[in-house]
Subunit: 377 residues, 2 copies
DNA sequence: CTTGGCACTCACGGCGATGGAGTGCCAGGT
DNA sequence: ACCTGGCACTCCATCGCCGTGAGTGCCAAG
């Protein structure tokens, strides 16, 4: 019934703190004899884990009796009750009302995530599913949209994927095309396979040679540079150019700089909002507020923005999200991309009552795969 | 209390059928003396309108007494009751349970939309809001995303906007760039300001001259054609080309055809899902099903696909949507684009209990403006 | 420190009474 | 013919009540 119980502690790695942190959690605890303290504390933590795990599965306050029965704790319900009282004292669990079972608090979930939950390795089938689902993608857009759907399906939660950021990538090529007299289209191709296009109005029609010349000048000056640097380079271009091109270059540079700098507000893909209704009882009437928050790009960016470090999965629980509407949710996020050159973030938003190990693995795995996919491209 | 009551019948136009249709609805009605029939029928319809309007506002079954009071019907509640009985007999209204007020049926809403609801002209402020909100858009993507948000805000419902379709547009320009040895990027620019890009692997590195030649060949053969025709033209290109280009052209043509034909699955933008919760009581537990349906591109395309004719607002009520999950919703949609050359569709999904006149105006206005914006581009 | 026992506390669900909105029908008026 | 006031009736929604049971806290014994 609790298939994953007792599997904690296997595997190591991402997002999991070492035992060194244990002490950090204990300084505020009650002072008792050394030898006994550890044993005591250990069982209490075991109880906390059991509570979290059972609550995640059953979605109802868990009582001492059920706990002692379903988990091999080796003690009686009465003892469990004592531990629970202590845990409640320390703020890790709480009871919805007198004479009901206990449910974890934000703090309880936090401790669970930091110390108690192991990593659930993905099954072979899951790995294969990820791979086959993503490898059919034809372009960047497709990759992102597939990823977000995949993540939503795997975790059965709301998934968020940030489009590869322009910030860290470089200019690969700039294309200039005259689409109608006096109207140019600039296509900016970056090495993250992202393409931006923009239309520029210039004073008068330009002949093909001039267009070619503009193209050459732009690519020579900006090609291969990081986007931020490219913006600076673009700014001085008109001054350096010959008088024949100056007018047009000024117009082009203006738009380019706008594209490179100002428009670094990022794009975001969202999927799985229907999953919110499944755990609707958890947040009851605040569902509307959550949906509204999720439609705010800014909010989403903040949520998956803080943890852009690929390989490290970050969890924000309840108020830790710093978004009031999401105070009853948890966010699991990570970055994707090659090494230090993070391209963007992705993650999921779900109820605090969440299968953290499973969700963390899924997020990590998808991010990993997408990172490889885009890095190689 | 019922601000819009009695304002029906002002203005004419889009989506509203002429009086000719009146007869069509009546042939199935009871046969009575001519002169009196009209008067009778007219008041009954007035009652139906009153019921719909009140129910839309109050969201609770409306009774005969309240109806006679709040609307200037000039008759007593008892008379209204008789009319209600007749309307129920004909299937336009129903009562949730004995001894409750009446609510409109699908058929009732349908009649309301077809004959009873006038057009609510947009206020000057609304027009200006639309304009100022959309004119800040920097590119196609931005236009679509702004439109969908705008529509969601104006109607306070879930908005759907289809990206301009490739089907009806023409190839404006094809750009070929070598992004790394043996790797080409094709950028396809259409006259709907839509840009598609695709990466093509070719056997061996190509020199710049060949790239330019490829570019010329492609543009000469495909430029200006409708996309469907362009695909055909692309298919025969390799055969007609000189032997030097044949290999590369075959690779390019394959990918181009894929882009032009296969990938006509369209993109869609969605906003305002939070608004669903506001009317959550209307569909109660089916909210999840609705959200799921809305995440299916195919479903959405079907919903706004049938009414691609710009200038005509189409309404589907309840089961008319042909989507089971949406049987308790209504869809108001229209096409946008210049004249016959429809670029795409847009619309909103909301509860059947909806302010049809207001919603229809909003949808029409936004579609109109977006059509101009993209048509002129 | 653990354990079994025990009294206590509440949320929850079922039950019946009450109130009131709304209806259908009928007889009388125009 | 149609409208209208009156009237009996129906049935949903609300509320308070109470029994039930899960779960707790405390205590005394091991």
């Amino acid at each position: 019934m609790i298939p994953r119980s007792g599997r904690h502690g296997t595997g190591g790695g991402q997002g999991r703190r070492g035992p060194a942190d244990l002490a950090g959690y204990m300084v505020s605890g009650p002072v008792v004899t050394e030898g006994v303290r550890d044993v005591l504390e250990e069982r209490r933590l075991e109880v906390l884990r059991a509570i979290v795990e059972d609550f995640v599965i059953g979605n109802e306050p868990v009582g001492s009796k059920a706990l002692a029965e379903r988990h091999a704790l080796g003690v009686s319900p009465a003892t469990v009750r004592n531990d629970m009282a202590a845990l409640e004292e320390d703020g890790y669990i709480t009871q919805p009302h007198t004479s009901a079972g206990r449910i974890p608090t934000d703090k309880g979930y936090r401790l669970f995530v930091d110390r108690l939950s192991g990593v659930r390795p993905l099954s072979r089938a899951e790995r294969r599913a990820i791979q086959s689902f993503l490898e059919g993608a034809v372009d960047l857009d497709d990759v992102v949209r597939r990823s977000v759907r995949l993540l939503a399906q795997l975790t059965r939660q709301v998934a968020v994927v940030q489009y590869p950021s322009l910030t860290t990538s470089r200019v690969r090529h700039i294309e200039v095309v005259q689409i109608s007299p006096g109207r140019l289209l600039i296509v900016l191709i970056t090495d993250a396979a992202r393409v931006e296009q923009r239309v520029v109005d210039v004073a008068e029609p330009i002949d093909e040679d001039t267009v070619a010349e503009l193209r050459t000048v732009l690519n020579r000056a900006l090609g291969g540079r990081r986007l931020a640097d490219a913006a600076e380079a673009a700014a001085v271009l008109p001054d350096e150019a010959g008088p024949g091109l100056r007018t047009q270059l000024t117009a082009l540079a203006t738009v380019l700089i706008e594209t490179l700098v100002e428009r670094q507000e990022e794009r975001i893909a969202l999927a799985g909002t229907a999953n919110l209704t499944r755990s609707a009882l958890d947040f009851s009437d605040s569902l509307r507020a959550i949906l509204e928050a999720l439609e705010e790009q800014v909010v989403l960016l903040k949520l998956i923005g803080w943890a852009r470090e690929p390989g490290t999965v970050t969890v924000r629980i309840g108020r830790e999200t710093d978004v009031d509407a999401l105070r009853s949710t948890a966010v699991v996020a990570t970055g994707y991309g090659r090494g230090a050159a993070a391209l963007g973030g992705m993650g999921v938003v779900g109820p605090m009552r969440m299968d953290y190990p499973g969700t963390m693995s899924a997020v990590w795995a998808v991010a990993n795969y997408v990172g490889e996919l885009l890095g190689a491209d």
